[in-house]
């Protein structure tokens, strides 16, 4: 009976796709929030951060000149890694099914 089998496979594919997209959206939202918090926090509170210092830099200067950019790099790295994992899980889901 090829038709129900085909329908079942298609349903499974759609479910796996939907799960993957939900996960992708969650990861994206989380990392975007981190991106916004870093950018906004480093600028909005710069005057308050200036009283602390980090190896000679005033903290606000460090954040704007290096810290924020390094956080951005980490965000992009984390995104690539998390999505890679999600992609592999998706592939496994599809393969694992007969």
């Amino acid at each position: 009976m090829p038709i129900p089998d085909h329908a079942a496979r298609r349903a499974r594919l759609l479910a796996a796709r939907a799960a993957h997209w939900r996960h992708a959206r969650r990861v994206t939202a989380l990392l975007l929030a981190l991106w916004l918090a870093t950018s906004f926090g480093a600028v909005w509170f710069a005057r308050d951060l200036a009283q602390w210092s980090l190896f000679g830099w005033p903290l606000s200067f460090y954040m704007a000149a290096q810290g924020a950019s390094l956080v951005y790099l980490a965000i992009i790295g984390a995104y690539a890694w998390l999505m890679r994992r999600a992609d592999m899980r998706y592939a496994q889901q599809l393969e694992g099914a007969p």
Binding site: W44, W57, L70, Y72, M83
Partner: protein, 682 residues
């Protein structure tokens, strides 16, 4: 070992060889300089060698295949794609002007560092992987496929708007790059400015004309290596000199407190206060002349005429006579001219009379309110630059060249990594150079000024890049007596640090590489939009692949010559608009791109409305508030400067897109299916 791995190994080997040869070339030139080779020859050799190098790579990678020409065959490894994108990104402005901007503006300049790096988060998270999955050729292609509409649902209206956006944004940008090429070539080899432009243009064309994206990619990787070496060597040298640590990004933290101490000391120095007071007096004198127009113009002209007559009568020397004649010629021709000239002179004097701001202090201001305005402007600029970065066609089109969606995500990571190698060094260079100038130049004797000051002051006599004049006549350099143009800092750094001239040539070659690599990418973005989107998709959909590539090459040639012609006119107004390109790109393209992926309901009418509204709001705000464009600074909203117009354009575009989409029919089944495909993993 898979084919992709072998490809990667081979490329790595090539570029390691290239780097080694480049190092050997530098050492050889250093030895030759030691043997007494003249400076001009070093400049020629650098220019010649690098341009031949780019042309060679272009010839080797020549192609007439459509996929190779438009998207480099979609098999560039992520690391190399990242390097190429970094070179694409690091423009003449980043390489030459950014460190100078940080030197002059201190903390405020860091908005560019934050904005231009943070934008890649948006590229990676919202746009690049989905563009790659759609496997199109250009940005208008993607938008047309996603939104459809127009005759037969082929998306011609959206495509046309996106092409327009690509051209507006990229053209202002490419003119600035070619202008920089002409400037560097003419300064380091002594050729005429326009000759310099066409020399640079030749090397751009050999490369992109023959091989399109494929040739550009491999040239840009080589250019990135040159940019990196050229930027790091002088900065490391300064870092060792002032902090005993060869890693400038780490070392300058130790220099900052010393710089702050020196700044505080200079702030209260009586001689500095005296010099600033003299500038204030000059500004006051100009103000009173301005107030007494047109009588003051009449009186001034009589005075100049009288001086000339006096020299003639007293049989003065020829040079005195010349000077008096020049005075008469330079005198403003009409009271209106005088008003303009004196107002700008008054402003220049006032600027030099103000107390310099501490380098590391965020948003200094006389009171809380003015400090808040600076903070808000900083934030607005950061946001605009980020959104603009995520909408620049020549950067986004690079996500098509990777081998897979995962590779495109990795590629953005490597892009930011390679950009940061430079961008984390730029603030370090600004601080180190500032400390050097504040401690060794300030307080030195006028009779013992270093050579580089005279050299750079003489390059452009009308608007000197640097001027050090003994205002108070004490024979000692005060900080307030130094006027330095931001653009000179990076180019003069080797001489400021006392390095051999080879390094100056290297820095010039680096600046040239930065400008050429960006110009390459931009020209390709424009000509692809014209040939692929306008010609192939809209005019002649049946064109053969051979014909498409040929048309593309011809258009590239035409666009390049128009851009070069525009640059050779030295258009001051276009150059000042480059900052605006980011706001325009963001307002035009960002809402349609991001919502196109993440909001299924976004449809054709919404996209059109979003792009149009974003563009109009952004343009209106610029025209309305930018004095250069005939606006008025007093009509700003929330005191946000016109360069950050995108901060209003983007939300307006998003709102228009959402509202119009909801008011019109949902996108059809085909568009939904395409979106499902773009979102699905491979």
């Amino acid at each position: 070992m898979t084919k992709a791995q072998r490809h990667f190994r081979k490329l790595s080997r090539y570029y390691l060889w290239f780097t080694a040869c480049f190092g050997a070339f530098l050492v050889a030139l250093a030895l030759l300089e030691n043997e007494g080779m003249p400076r001009l020859w070093i400049g020629y050799l650098f220019m010649f060698a690098t341009i031949v190098l780019y042309a060679t790579i272009g010839v080797i990678s020549r192609t007439a295949n459509v996929t190779e020409y438009y998207v480099a065959g979609r098999r560039v490894p992520a690391l190399f794609n990242g390097m190429a994108t970094a070179a694409d990104w690091i423009s003449a402005a980043s390489f030459i002007s950014l460190a100078g901007g940080l030197y002059l503006h201190g903390f405020d300049g860091l908005a560019y560092i934050m904005g231009w790096t943070g934008g890649y988060c948006l590229v990676a998270l919202l746009i690049a992987p989905y563009l790659r999955k759609s496997a199109q050729f250009t940005i208008p292609d993607f938008l047309a496929a996603r939104y459809g509409g127009g005759a037969g649902g082929r998306g011609a209206p959206v495509r046309a708007m996106a092409v327009g956006a690509t051209i507006i944004v990229s053209f202002t940008y490419v003119v600035a790059q070619i202008y920089a090429v002409g400037l560097i070539a003419s300064r380091f080899t002594g050729v005429d400015f326009s000759v310099g432009i066409f020399l640079g243009l030749a090397s751009i064309l050999v490369c992109s004309f023959l091989g399109g994206m494929r040739a550009i990619t491999w040239t840009q990787v080589a250019q990135y290596i040159i940019i990196l070496v050229a930027f790091l060597i002088p900065t490391m040298w300064l870092s060792v000199k002032h902090a005993d640590n060869p890693i400038p990004q780490v070392a300058y933290g130790a220099v900052l407190p010393r710089l702050a101490a020196r700044e505080a000391q200079l702030l209260h120095d009586p001689k500095e206060i005296d010099v600033r007071q003299r500038f204030r007096e000059r500004a006051d004198a100009l103000s009173s002349r301005l107030a007494a127009l047109p009588a003051s113009w009449e009186a001034g002209r009589r005075e100049v005429q009288r001086q000339l007559d006096a020299v003639r009568l007293s049989n003065g020397s020829l040079s005195d006579l010349r000077a008096a004649e020049r005075g008469l010629i330079a005198y403003p021709k009409t009271p209106a001219d005088a008003a303009r000239l004196w107002a700008s002179q008054r402003d220049a004097n006032l600027a030099r009379a103000t107390v310099p701001e501490a380098h590391a202090t965020p948003f200094p201001g006389p009171d809380q309110a003015s400090s808040d305005i600076r903070r808000n402007n900083f934030l607005a600029l950061v946001l605009c630059l980020m959104l603009g970065t995520a909408a620049l066609p020549h950067i986004l089109m690079r996500s098509y060249t990777t081998a897979s969606v995962h590779a495109s995500r990795q590629s953005v990571f490597w892009t930011l990594f390679f950009i940061l190698l430079i961008y984390l060094t730029i603030p370090a260079l600004a601080v180190l150079a500032k400390y050097d100038i504040y401690t060794s130049l300030v307080g030195s004797d006028f009779s013992a000024l270093p050579n580089w000051i005279a050299y750079w002051a003489n390059i452009d006599k009308l608007n000197p890049l640097i001027s050090v004049v003994d205002i108070n006549g004490d024979g000692i350099v005060q900080l307030a007596e130094i006027a330095i143009d931001g653009d000179v800092l990076v180019l003069a750094t080797p001489e400021i640090g006392g390095l051999p001239y080879v390094i100056s040539g290297l820095v010039a070659a680096g600046g040239l590489a930065a400008a050429l690599s960006t110009a390459d990418g931009l020209l390709l973005a424009i000509s692809n939009a014209l040939s692929h989107d306008v010609y192939y998709k809209m005019v002649d959909p049946k064109a053969s692949t051979q014909k498409r590539v040929t048309i593309s090459k011809l258009l590239l040639l035409a666009v390049a010559f128009i851009a070069a012609y525009a640059a050779s006119q030295k258009p001051a107004d276009i150059l000042s608009l480059v900052g605006a390109a980011f706001s325009l790109a963001a307002s035009l393209l960002f809402p349609a791109l991001a919502l196109g992926v993440f909001w299924k309901r976004a449809n054709h009418a919404g996209a059109m409305a979003g792009m149009l509204t974003g563009f109009l709001v952004c343009l209106f705000y610029m025209l309305h508030t930018n004095p250069i464009l005939g606006g008025n600074a007093a009509s700003q909203w929330f005191q946000i400067a016109p360069i950050s117009a995108g901060v209003f354009g983007v939300p307006a575009g998003i709102i228009a897109l959402v509202v119009v989409s909801l008011l019109t029919r949902a996108p059809d089944h085909a568009a939904q299916g395409l979106l499902d495909h773009i979102r699905a993993p491979e």
